[in-house]
């Protein structure tokens, strides 16, 4: 997955047709390898429902608020296909999922796919805003900390990294709500609306990743700045700004791409908490509401979709890393 660094041994990059074919084969190979992983993910997502204590039919009836008579339980068991062997149930479920039918919410009867699709744009909006904000914060902080090592700005970047890694997101969210919504009344605390609604949740979510970004960028910049081509650039008489922005930063950003895959896990996981606190109508809040009301098909659909997004995001990150760094051969595992 994206967190794994590919082997940096490599052949020189040749931009000819054979290279394009190699890229095509590599992508195809990765896509084929994805199939067993996706099957396993679907199996785990399906199996989750069987972790719930008690009969799933009874759980569904309770969630619907229906009476638990013997007849109703048996009817529900037949409706859910619970009398069939486990594997038969899984294959039937998988066949439906492949047609984008994730079942229906046991509370509202709304198709799960519809629920997820309606809520997904809000999560994407929040995650994108948080990611951009994190990059906007980390980029200058990481670069300046590397260029001005052991100065106050470098120390600030360290405090920021330590604070960010130790700060519970849900506590930060409550503090921000208290300060900016309750005390100062500058920003709305709950719901989704105009751009102002996005600020507090996006700041909270970005704080989970920005410190990591800034420290990684600093480390990567330090490494690049000590390399011979930077010395050459300086020797050529290029300005400090041109060296840093034109030469060093471009190369320092390459290893930075590998953490983007991990960021998706942070953003998806963090979104669950942040959306719940800020009543942000995304899939994270949908999932928490579904868990607390024992609406299992929704939870199942959410887990499956989250893993799918994560897997695809990691694949894209991995491919772009290889595309960005010509030193990396496109035939290695990853």
């Amino acid at each position: 997955m994206g967190g794994r660094l590919p082997s940096p041994v490599g052949l020189p990059f040749v931009g000819d047709r054979s290279q394009e074919v190699a890229i095509g084969i590599y992508i195809l190979r990765r896509l084929v390898l994805l199939v067993p992983i996706l099957l396993a993910i679907s199996f785990i997502s399906f199996s989750l429902i069987h972790l719930a204590p008690g009969d799933p039919a009874e759980v569904a009836l309770r969630a619907m608020g229906a009476q638990l008579t013997q007849d109703a339980i048996q009817a529900m068991r037949t409706q859910l296909g619970l009398d069939d062997p486990f594997l038969v149930q899984y294959i039937r479920w998988l066949a439906r999922v492949l047609r984008l039918d994730f079942g229906a919410s046991v509370r509202t009867g709304t198709p799960v796919a519809e629920l997820l699709l309606t809520r997904l744009p809000a999560t994407i909006e929040l995650a994108t805003a948080s990611f951009l904000l994190a990059v906007l914060l980390a980029l200058p902080l990481g670069v300046v900390a590397a260029v001005r090592q052991h100065t106050p700005i470098d120390h600030i970047s360290r405090v920021f990294a330590l604070g960010g890694a130790s700060m519970p997101g849900f506590w930060l969210a409550l503090i921000l709500i208290y300060l900016f919504a309750v005390k100062l009344d500058w920003l709305p605390a709950l719901g989704r609306g105009d751009g102002r609604h996005l600020i507090l949740p996006a700041v909270t979510l970005s704080m989970g990743i920005a410190p990591t970004y800034s420290r990684l960028l600093r480390a990567s910049m330090c490494e690049v700045l000590s390399q011979p081509h930077i010395l050459t650039a300086r020797a050529k008489g290029l300005s400090n700004q041109a060296v840093i922005l034109g030469h060093a930063l471009r190369n320092a950003l390459i290893p930075f791409v590998t953490v983007l895959g991990i960021s998706f896990a942070h953003l998806l996981g963090g979104a669950v908490v942040v959306e719940t606190i800020f009543s942000w109508p995304g899939i994270g809040k949908l999932a928490v509401d579904a868990i607390l009301t024992r609406d299992f098909p929704v939870v199942q659909g959410f887990v499956l979709i989250s893993a799918l997004i994560f897997v695809v995001a990691n694949l894209v990150v991995d491919l772009s890393y290889r595309w960005l760094d010509p030193r990396i051969r496109l035939t290695g595992g990853g």
Partner: protein, 299 residues
């Protein structure tokens, strides 16, 4: 908030770079790292306080006293009282036992499973290794907090189920790291020698392999404890962990939300407790890593 140890994790240590002195033991390096010592001191202080809860809490953490509800900090109650008149000081101390206890228990389970699976995969090799690594790959394909949330949620709200959910996804990173270490240790001459004289596999693992991989694993575990504590508190905060009236830091923060306007101190202290504990683990973890492997020190 992920529970996984990230290989790319940067150091968050505030320690000033000091020259690496040759011939210095890891312990000496740790003692020279002021920030790691600060982490250790904070952690020791917190652990002592929560262990001393029965003697210093002063009040039953679940005893309701409506006449004294929402008292501000200071006065008769050191950290004030909540909406039911319960002492926040007592609830923080007793809650710390639960939060720290759950995180420690989760880490022990993760370590036990991760070490056992990793050692078996690394020593056994072949199809056993293949099978284990494929399971690890699949579990790593899930965003960890989400899978932990779903498992804990499906099992039903309770702190034990949060522990199960967190441990169910947490062991995979350790299994992978341990397997990698076992593979390299397996090639060492002393392990080869032990194997050649017929030392059984379990004895090989316990006597020769485990002692050699234990210190990096302890560093990983310390670094990971902060993230683990954050995940447990997050799930508790969402209502999946400890249930009322049990005091637990994440739960206390959630209970404080409706009183944000009238009694903001309710959310201040549990959050501060989580923050300080996680920071202490992070400082100590960074220090331990630097002490045991000076090559990983920040530039």
């Amino acid at each position: 908030m992920a529970t996984r140890v990230e290989e790319t994790r940067p150091s968050s240590s505030l320690a000033q770079e000091e020259p690496i002195r040759s011939g210095e033991s890891p312990w000496q390096r740790l003692v020279r790292d002021r920030m790691a010592l600060l982490g250790l001191a904070i952690l020791a202080g917190i652990v002592l306080l929560v262990l001393a809860a029965p003697w210093i809490a002063g009040q039953d953490p679940v005893a309701i006293d409506p006449l004294n509800k929402l008292q501000p900090p200071g006065g008769e109650h050191l950290l004030g009282t909540d909406n039911l008149g319960r002492s926040i000081w007592a609830r923080i101390l007793w809650g710390g036992r639960l939060t720290l206890g759950t995180a420690t228990a989760a880490m022990l389970v993760i370590l036990a499973v991760g070490l056992a699976v990793g050692v078996v995969a690394g020593l056994q090799g072949g199809w056993v290794d293949d099978l284990i690594m494929r399971v690890v790959d699949v579990l790593m394909a899930f965003p960890s907090l989400i899978l932990a949330l779903a498992i804990a949620g499906m099992l039903g709200p309770s702190l034990v189920n949060v522990l199960i959910g967190i441990a169910a996804v947490g062991w995979v990173t350790y299994a992978r790291v341990v397997r990698g270490m076992v593979l390299s240790v397996r090639e060492e001459a002393y392990v080869e020698a032990a194997r050649s004289v017929g030392v059984p596999a379990w004895r090989l693992a316990l006597r020769h392999v485990l002692p050699n991989i234990l210190s990096p694993i302890v560093v990983l575990a310390t670094l990971d404890m902060g993230a683990l504590l954050l995940s447990i508190s997050a799930l508790s905060f969402l209502g999946l962990g400890a249930q009322a009236p049990t005091p637990e830091w994440g739960r206390m923060l959630n209970d404080a939300r409706p009183f944000m306007q009238t009694a903001p101190h309710l959310m201040l202290f549990p959050g501060l407790a989580i923050f300080l504990t996680v920071m202490a683990f992070n400082l100590l973890g960074d220090g331990l890593r630097d002490a045991l492997d000076p090559r990983t020190r920040r530039r």
